[in-house]
């Protein structure tokens, strides 16, 4: 098994997530892209756990999942509140604060 394929896949997923954050207009999709980035980190951690022969990476992946879940709770609450007051979740519409 060649571990570098997994690392490349993870880097690719991270990049796709990063581009999603920068290019997507809907706050929910931006947020999903962030979650994709976190999951690509999990893949990286598990792969390195195998290459370095330690269990730390797998344990860390669990921590990341828990933190990601907490972030979903807070994030969706904030996005919901702004969607209810503006009838839109587009990040282009939140433009009252500028300059």
């Amino acid at each position: 098994m060649n571990e570098s394929y997994y690392l490349l896949l993870a880097a690719l997923l991270f990049t796709i997530g990063g581009m999603g954050v920068l290019l997507r207009r809907n706050a929910i999709l931006v947020f999903m892209s962030v979650e994709l980035m976190l999951n690509s980190v999990n893949l990286t951690l598990v792969t390195f756990s195998r290459t370095t022969g330690t269990l730390d990476g797998q344990v860390m992946a669990f921590f990341v999942m828990v933190v990601a879940a907490a972030e979903v709770v807070v994030g969706l609450a904030i996005i919901m509140s702004i969607f209810r007051s503006r009838r839109s979740a587009s990040v282009d519409d939140v433009n009252l604060l500028k300059y």
Partner: protein, 512 residues
């Protein structure tokens, strides 16, 4: 592959300040669940204040400790203890600001029910009602606990978790303003999306450094940087990603975009807390990562940090000049100050470390108190933050305008204020380490910042007040106490800085 995981031995004594703050936060949640609504506010303030005072007392009793606890994940050393003490006192002042009720007829800067639609009939009724919401106290305490853990983490995974513990409550708190709720919610969305994006970078950096060193312990990372056969690409990319996450939190250019929007939109007491404490916690973590983990690879990260420090100082100072809103102006000034503090970080010497610690303490108190003054200047729709509305304030209320002018002088770095001593300490450390070019740019940027601070002072004292201008509300003891504390620290550190400089000097030692 090893299969047995040893359970760590836990030394509860050295982490007592953390346990007290998190304990107070958990008690705050229980109060929300079980105490009658009429008693909640008093109980929450008492529990939060006692928790922070207890944390301060525990921190003082730990003075001189140098040890790694919790399976070497938490470093209790001079730097941690210095920052814990500072954060506990500033946290107490923030809790006081959040407790203020006599400025607004309806009581408090925090919305009574965050779920009510802005602009709806219920919202209009609530804005005038005296109902208050007290969930903000446990949120603030969890955030402060995370801030105390953040600079003390000797393990990158723990540092990530501390980062989230400090950030998640802050995202919510930014969206809880009682007035101008659309702005407040917008600030929360922007802060959350950008913050989550930055923490994903931080985490990817942690994963790559794990691949590089086989461990996320900062000591092991340091050991790995001395070995020749390691994969350098993982090191460089990992460190860069880690730095993105940390520089976002301190608000350095080019990761500063959230700062003005969030500082302006969040309720002003929350802005005061965020401006003072988040910066301290994030700089503490940045110092630990760079000094403990990457002290040997300074040639790899110093040029990058040079560029970021220059950009931060110059762009922060120049953009502050164009601002027309007091809160936004203070936000850009905080960006410029981030650049000045970075000079002390880049110096990578003991003087640089102690200068940075002193700067963080001095800046924290001054900026918290200046945002507290902003909460006092009000018109019928709430706080009057447009600079034009501040014209002639010195004629209406010489005391408040004079206090604000003094804080602006301190932020500009005029002698006999804490800001001067702080800037002197970091710039001197920079010159000693051969960063003369950086210090010269820093001095020029300081001159630009002095210009826009002076412009506000001139506006307050030498222009005619508008006929329908804002009035200065009389605060209760909470806000008055926080401002008096900030004023006292700013004066004392400017006139008699030596005891605190000595304390920072003795504290500037990392354990690893």
């Amino acid at each position: 592959m090893p299969t047995d995981i040893q359970s760590p031995e836990i030394a509860y004594g050295p982490i007592l300040p953390l346990l007290i703050v998190f304990g107070a936060a958990v008690i705050g949640v229980l109060i929300e669940a079980f105490a009658p609504a009429s008693k909640r506010r008093t109980l929450q303030i008492v529990v939060a204040a006692l928790g922070l005072l207890g944390a301060l007392a525990a921190t003082i009793s730990l003075a001189g400790t140098q040890e790694l606890v919790f399976a070497e994940a938490i470093a209790v050393d001079g730097v941690s203890l210095f920052l814990w003490g500072t954060l506990a006192v500033l946290g107490l002042a923030s809790i006081f600001l959040l407790s203020e009720r006599s400025l607004d007829a309806s009581g408090g800067a925090v919305v009574a029910r965050a779920s009510v639609l802005p602009g709806s009939r219920e919202d209009v009724q609530l804005a005038e009602a005296t109902e208050v919401q007290t969930e903000i106290y446990p949120l603030a305490m969890f955030s402060l606990g995370g801030m105390m853990l953040f600079p003390a983490s000797n393990n990158l995974l723990l540092m990530f978790i501390a980062l989230e513990v400090l950030s998640l409550p802050l995202y919510l708190m930014a969206g809880l303003a009682r007035r101008r709720r659309l702005l407040s919610q917008e600030a929360a969305v922007k802060y959350f999306l950008l913050g989550a994006f930055a923490s994903a970078f931080f985490l990817y950096g942690v994963a790559l450094l794990y691949g590089y060193a086989g461990s996320v312990d900062l000591g092991d990372v340091f050991t790995a940087t001395g070995l020749a056969q390691s994969n350098e690409a993982l090191l460089f990319v990992g460190l860069a990603m880690l730095a993105v996450g940390l520089l976002f939190k301190v608000g350095a250019v080019p990761f500063q975009a959230w700062t003005p929007d969030v500082y302006q939109g969040a309720p002003t007491p929350v802005t005061a807390m965020m401006a003072a404490t988040t910066k301290i916690a994030a700089f503490g973590a940045l110092l630990r990562v760079l000094y403990v983990g990457f002290g040997r690879t300074e040639w790899d990260w110093r040029p990058m940090m040079w560029g970021i420090a220059i950009l931060t100082m110059v762009i922060g100072a120049l953009l502050a000049v164009t601002q027309t809103d007091v809160k936004r102006m203070l936000a850009y000034s905080s960006v410029a100050h981030t650049g000045f503090i970075l000079v002390g970080v880049i110096a990578l010497s003991r003087d640089g470390l102690s200068g940075t610690l002193f700067y963080l303490l001095a800046y924290g108190f001054t900026t918290l108190a200046s945002f507290a003054v902003v909460t006092l200047v009000r018109d019928s729709s709430g706080e009057a933050t447009h600079l034009a509305q501040w014209a002639g304030l010195g004629r209406k209320s010489p005391l408040v305008a004079g206090t604000f002018a003094f804080f602006l002088f301190a932020l500009a770095g005029i002698p006999l204020t804490s800001g001067f001593m702080a800037k002197y300490a970091v710039f001197k450390a920079g010159v000693d380490e051969g960063l003369t070019a950086l210090v010269v740019i820093g001095l020029l940027a300081s001159a630009v910042t002095a210009f826009f601070y002076a412009r506000v002072v001139v506006l307050m004292f030498f222009s005619e007040p508008a006929p329908d201008g804002p009035t200065v509300s009389v605060p209760s003891g909470y806000t008055a106490g926080a401002i008096a504390l900030g004023l006292a620290v700013t004066v004392v550190l400017g006139v008699l800085p030596q005891p605190v400089l000595d304390l920072a000097e003795r504290a500037s030692q990392f354990v690893y």
